[in-house]
Structures are given as C-alpha cells and as structure tokens.
C-alpha cells in the first residue's frame, strides 16, 4: 500500500517537473524568437544607411565628418557581438544618425528631395520597429526571469541549468519631451 502511494507521489512529481520544464522552455523560446525580431530590424537599418549616405554625400561636402561618424558607427554595430555590446553600439549609431538628420535640416535642397524624405521615413519606421521589438523582447525577458526565480520553478531551473537572459538596454532619453505641433498640416 505504502509502495503504491510512494509510486503515485513519484509519478506526480515527475509530471509536475515536466510541466514546469516545458513552461520554461516555451518562454525561453519566446525570448529567443523576439531577439530574432530585433536582429531583423537592426539588419534593415544597417542596409538602409549606405543608401542614405550616398544620397546626401554630394550635397554635404562640408559635413564629411558627420557622414564618417555614421559609417564608423554602422561598421561597429555590424561587427558587435553579445547583447550588451550590441545594445551599446546600436545606441551610438542612433545618436550618429540623429546628428546627421539635424544637419540635413540645414540643407533645403536635401529636405525637398523626394529620395531623402522616403529614406528618412524608412529609417524612422525602422527606429520605431527596433524600439518596439526591444519593448517586446524586454517584456518577454522579464516574464522568463520571473518564471525562473519563483519558488518551485527555481529548483527545476537549477537542476536543468537554465540561464537567465539579458535585457536589451535602451539609450538614455530615447524619447525626449516632444514639441507641440497643432498646425493643420503638421509635418
């Protein structure tokens, strides 16, 4: 009789462990899948930048310095490995791009160029997608970390050696206070 009870407890324990294990695997896969999303968007940005630079190059002879900084930041971002290094390199690239667009504002013939407005829109949407993908990734990482650390799960995770995932840190003041614009055709 006692043997049966023991067997039942063991079976239950195994099933229970398996359930926790599967849950952990599922959320880890979610995290890795959403990391792929960020990667896709980062690659998209890296591909757009050479296009942009070659389009504005001709008109911006006196701004070679700014352009070079963008290209260097891009090269560093492409070659960066590991999540913290990547996050930092990407933030540098974002800043360099911000400076470039600030400079473009000073060139009316560039601002009216249709190619450039299109590229600018593409880069804006890519920036947004990166930040949204990062939002999703960080949410999922938080979800995964909680699952790893709560009570019964932490035993299972230490047995099967689950590792915690890193957050993708956002740059400081990524979205600063916006300016009010209420004209009918605010662009």
């Amino acid at each position: 009789m006692i043997g049966w009870i023991l067997l039942g407890i063991i079976v239950l324990a195994v099933l229970w462990t398996a359930a926790i294990y599967n849950g952990l695997i599922a959320s880890r896969n979610d995290v890795q899948g959403s990391w792929k999303q960020i990667d896709v968007q980062l690659k998209r940005r890296h591909d757009l930048i050479p296009n942009l630079v070659s389009t504005v190059k001709g008109a911006m002879e006196f701004e070679q310095d700014t352009l070079e900084k963008v290209m260097n930041a891009r090269a560093r971002a492409v070659s960066a490995a590991g999540i913290p290094a990547k996050a930092e390199a990407e933030n540098m690239l974002t800043q360099a791009l911000g400076r470039l667009f600030a400079v473009v504002e000073n060139y009316p013939q560039l601002k009216s160029n249709q190619n450039i407005t299109q590229l600018q829109e593409e880069l804006t949407t890519t920036e947004n997608r990166i930040s949204f993908a990062r939002q999703l990734y960080n949410d999922l990482v938080a979800n995964y970390r909680t699952k790893l650390q709560v009570f019964p799960n932490n035993i299972v995770s230490s047995i099967f050696n689950f590792k915690t995932e890193e957050y993708f840190a956002a740059e400081e003041a990524a979205r600063t206070a916006p300016a009010v614009n209420l004209s009918l055709k605010g662009k």
């Binding site: 949204f132 055709k185 605010g186």
Partner: protein, 548 residues
C-alpha cells in the same frame, strides 16, 4: 490593468467568453419572452423545454455566425475602404505604422489596413469571428496628422482589436440591432393582440438591457485604449493633439452610418450627451467626453488644455490669412517675351518655362537679372536637377500636345504630367486624397484664387449655353483618352465646382489642363461655389446645390 500587449492577449480570452455567456443568456431570455405569448408555456413538458432550448441555442449560434463573420468585409464595402497605396508617401507612413504595431505585438495577430476616401476625420477598427481585423482611417484624417499622431491613433485602434473590444462591439451591435428591429416590427404588428404585447415588451426591455450593458463598458474601453496607445508610443501629447484636432473637425456625420459609431475613435455625431458626465451619460453614450480624454493625456505630458486651445486657434488663424509681404514677389519674362507676375517663389518653381536664363525682376526694383543670379531661386533648379534623374516616362502621351507624360509627385501622390503644357492626368481614385491634402498656405495663391473665381463666373454662363447646345446638337471638341484612345467625356467636375475636366470612365482617369487641378482644390478648400441659384434648362433638372 495589463502591463504589456502579451497580458492583454492573455486576459482577453476569458473576458470574451464571459461576455458571450451573458449575451447568450440575455438573447435566449429575449427569444423566450417573444415566443411566450404564443401560448406554449402552459402545456409544456420538460422534454419539450429541453428541445426548445437546444433549438434556440442552434438558432442563436447561426445568428451569431452570420451577423459577425462577415463584419470586416461588410464595413469595407459600406465605406468603400481601399487598401493603402504603397507608392503614396502618406499611405506609406500608415502602412509602416501598422507594421510597427505588428512588431510590438510579436505578430500574434495580423491587422489589415484600409483608407476611406472621405474628407471627414475619423478612424475605426473592426474585427470578426473569422479572425479578420481591420483598421481604417479616412483620407482627411490621414493627410492632416503628423507621423507621431498617426502612430498614436493606430495604437489606440490596435488596442481595441487586440483586447477583443472590437469583436464584442461588432457582435453586440449586429446581433441586438437585428433583434430590436424585429421586435419593433412585431410590436407594430401585434397592436391589436394585447396578450402578445406584454411578452414582447419584456423582451424589448431585455434587448435594450443587453445593448446598454455593452454601451456601459464602451466608455471605459476608450479610456483604456487611450492608455494603451500612450504606453506603446510613449507620447501622450501626440494622441492629445490628434483628439483635439478631431474635436474641431467634421468627423463624418452622415457619411459613417449609424451602427458604426461605436467602432470609431470619436463619435461621428457630435452630441451634447457625449460631452457630459454622470450616470445617465455613462449609460447611454458610446464615447467619453473628448475634453476629459484630452485632459487625462495632457496631465501625463504636463500641458494645460487652455494652452492647446490657444495654439490651435492661432494655427488656424495663421492658415486662413497668408501673411503678405513676407516673401519677395517676382516678375518673370515668359517665352512670348511678356512680363508676367507677380509670382511667389513657389509659383515660380511651378512655371514649366522657368529656366536659369529667364529674366526676372524682384518686387519694387526696376532692374532685371537672370534667374540663376538670385540666391533664393537656386534651390528650385537644384530640386529640378535632383528630380530630373528619376523622371519616369509613363508610356502615355499628352492628349493635347502629344508629348510623353512623365510621372510627377503631387501632394505626395503620383500623377502623370505633361512637361510641355503642364496638364495632368489623375486617376479618379487618387482625387479624394489630393483634395484632402490641399495645403492652404502655398497652393491657394491670389493668382489661383482669382483664376478660380473668373472661371466660375465664365462657366456659370457657359453652363446655360452648354445645356442649350446639347439640345441643338452643337459638337463639343473632345480629346482622346491617353490610355484607351477613346474620346473622353468633357464636363464640369461637379455641379458645385465648375472646373471643366475630361474624364474617361472606363479607364478611371481625369485630365486637367494647366492650373485646373489647383483651381479645383482651391474651390473646394475655399468653398467657391455658385452663390445663387442659376436658372438652368429644365430637361437636365440639375439645380445647382448650395452647400454640399
């Protein structure tokens, strides 16, 4: 309050299930009360009741399915919503923003997008049982919002879709809408039979209850969607600006039919009920007061609502009165060796014959000089050079002067233009968006306005002549359609806007001579219409309307 879109997704399943259960219970009770007066209750056995419940469950299921499975398609058809055009600058932004929403939700759900060809300002979201979801924005709203504002509006609608609000609203609206219509008819039929009215009355009460239940949570939902939009875009001010803009504009009353108002971002009908608070208003109104919504958003951004009002007033006033004297005016010598003008810089840029060698003179000065020497005109030629490389021939020829038509960018969309006579060929489906994007400041110059007025007066008398000539059979000169080479139909753009255009309805294109497109835009923007009723020839019966 869920923190992320993942939590919203998780929470919505049981909420929708509970909502459905309540709806089905109310629905069954309503059916029961309708059938009760037929006199079957008295002699019913338990087995009969079981059968009756089963049958009505099946009926309810079929009703649910048919009322809610086609909702997206039927809304799309009713409003004539078109998928956004990826070639178009403004639509491109909309498509990109939708894609961003997909990224933030981890592609759990595909949301379709559509543009409603209307000048009104509104946005709506629909979802149906087949899993289709649609976010539609009117052309008018899309062309007046900046990018962050479009993001905020789309995020608001996306929350409605993802949280299941849309599905609930769509189903409740279609289901109880039909039922209450049926009841109304029953009531009017059964006036004479007093036994039926009691049951039907109770059923009516229940139907209204189900409807009210839905309305009661719809105010709450709008606040939540606003909050979700802010959480996604991290920009409360953009949503506040967009709502503020909506509150001051035509939101599509009369165009967006009743039954759809619950799906919109703001109620198309501006009612006083919507703008009041309290229990009754909470119960009966579909949307919370806009000013309260804006107030909450502005509190997040620490901006005062009075400030927003004043800025909007000033912006509108500035848009109405173009500041004179700010820009230098030019006279230019045309190829026919005549001095023309005065032109602003933008107007000069639009002149097809302007070249770096054209003689121009500035404002008051009497001396003339070559155009390339003026520093202000440099950008015009630079822009022409830049856009010169990407001129794409459309493969069509100008119907007037036989030159090849080239693709030109006009108000953010592509049209075919003749570089010689400056006439343009516009696809009719693109006209609403061009009209919606009319920029007051640079387009409606004095010259275009004066031209439009003169054309209007000329054409008023011509219209009578035209009607007479139709009777006498005088031939009107027709030009061939550049696409199918059949003669195009010449006529006015509409009864109110008397610009002569040529259309080919089989190809869906319209030909505008030089300046005619601009004139049409300014006529619509400034409401230049025939002021008094003009006596027309009776057979047409086309009385010129007042205000559209």
């Amino acid at each position: 309050m869920p923190l992320t879109f993942i939590d919203i997704e998780r929470q919505k399943t049981w909420r929708i299930a509970a909502f459905f259960l309540v709806l089905i219970a109310i629905y069954l009770a309503a059916i029961l009360f309708i059938t009760a007066p037929l006199g079957i209750i008295g002699r019913a056995s338990p087995r009969f009741w079981l059968g009756a419940v089963l049958v009505s469950l099946v009926a309810a299921g079929i009703h649910f399915w048919f009322s809610a499975s086609e909702a997206v398609d039927s809304v799309r058809r009713t409003l004539d919503a078109q998928p956004p055009d990826p070639q178009d600058e403004v639509h491109r932004v909309f498509l990109n923003v939708i894609e961003e929403v997909h990224v933030v939700t981890g592609r759990k759900r595909t949301i379709q997008s559509a543009v409603i060809p209307s000048q009104s300002m509104n946005a709506l979201a629909v979802a149906d049982l087949r899993g289709n979801a649609l976010i539609a924005i009117t052309e008018g709203l899309l062309s007046r919002l900046s990018r962050p504002q479009v993001e905020a509006v789309v995020a608001h609608e996306a929350h409605h879709v993802l949280s299941g609000d849309c599905l609930e609203t769509t189903i409740a609206a279609s289901l109880f809408g039909t039922l209450s219509a049926a009841l109304d008819r029953l009531n009017s039929l059964s006036d004479r039979r007093s036994s039926a009215t009691a049951g039907a009355g109770l059923a009516w009460l229940l139907v209204k209850l189900g409807y009210l239940l839905n309305l009661f949570i719809s105010r709450e939902r709008e606040y939540r969607a606003d909050a979700a939009a802010v959480r996604m875009t991290r920009n409360p001010l953009a949503l506040a600006e967009a709502l503020h803009l909506l509150s001051r504009s035509w939101r599509g009353a009369g165009f967006i039919g009743s039954g759809l108002e619950m799906l919109c971002i703001v109620n198309p009908q501006a009612t006083t009920l919507d703008e009041t608070e309290g229990f009754v208003a909470d119960l009966l109104s579909t949307h919370p007061p806009i000013r309260k919504r804006i107030g909450i958003l502005l509190a997040m951004a620490r901006v005062d609502i009075g400030d927003l009002d004043r800025r909007a007033d000033r912006a509108e006033a500035e848009a109405r009165t173009p500041a004179p004297g700010q820009q230098p005016l030019y006279h230019a010598m045309s190829p026919k060796q005549e001095w023309q003008g005065p032109f602003t810089v933008q107007e000069l840029a639009a002149l097809a014959w302007l070249s770096p060698l054209t003689w121009i003179s500035t404002g008051g000065s009497s001396s003339a000089d070559r155009a390339w020497k003026d520093p202000l005109l440099g950008p015009i030629f630079a822009a022409r050079l830049a856009s010169g490389n990407e001129r794409i021939e459309t493969g069509l020829t100008c119907p007037v002067c036989r030159q090849p038509l080239v693709t030109a960018s006009y108000e953010g969309t592509q049209i075919a233009q003749c570089s010689f006579c400056a006439g343009s060929l516009v696809e009719m489906k693109k006209l609403p968006r061009i009209i919606a994007r009319t920029g007051q400041d640079h387009l409606c110059t004095q010259r275009i306005n004066a031209l439009a007025r003169t054309t209007l007066e000329n054409n008023l008398s011509r219209r009578i002549y035209r009607a007479a000539s139709r009777v006498q059979g005088t031939a009107i000169q027709r030009i061939p359609c550049p696409k199918c080479t059949h003669p195009m139909l010449r006529g006015f753009y509409s009864e109110n806007y008397l610009v002569e255009v040529d259309r080919c309805s089989s190809c869906g294109v319209m030909w505008f001579d030089q300046d005619e497109l601009e004139m049409l835009q300014c006529m619509i923007a400034n409401r230049l219409e025939p002021a008094v009723a003009v006596p027309t020839v009776p057979p047409d019966g086309d009385a010129p309307g007042g205000v559209p």
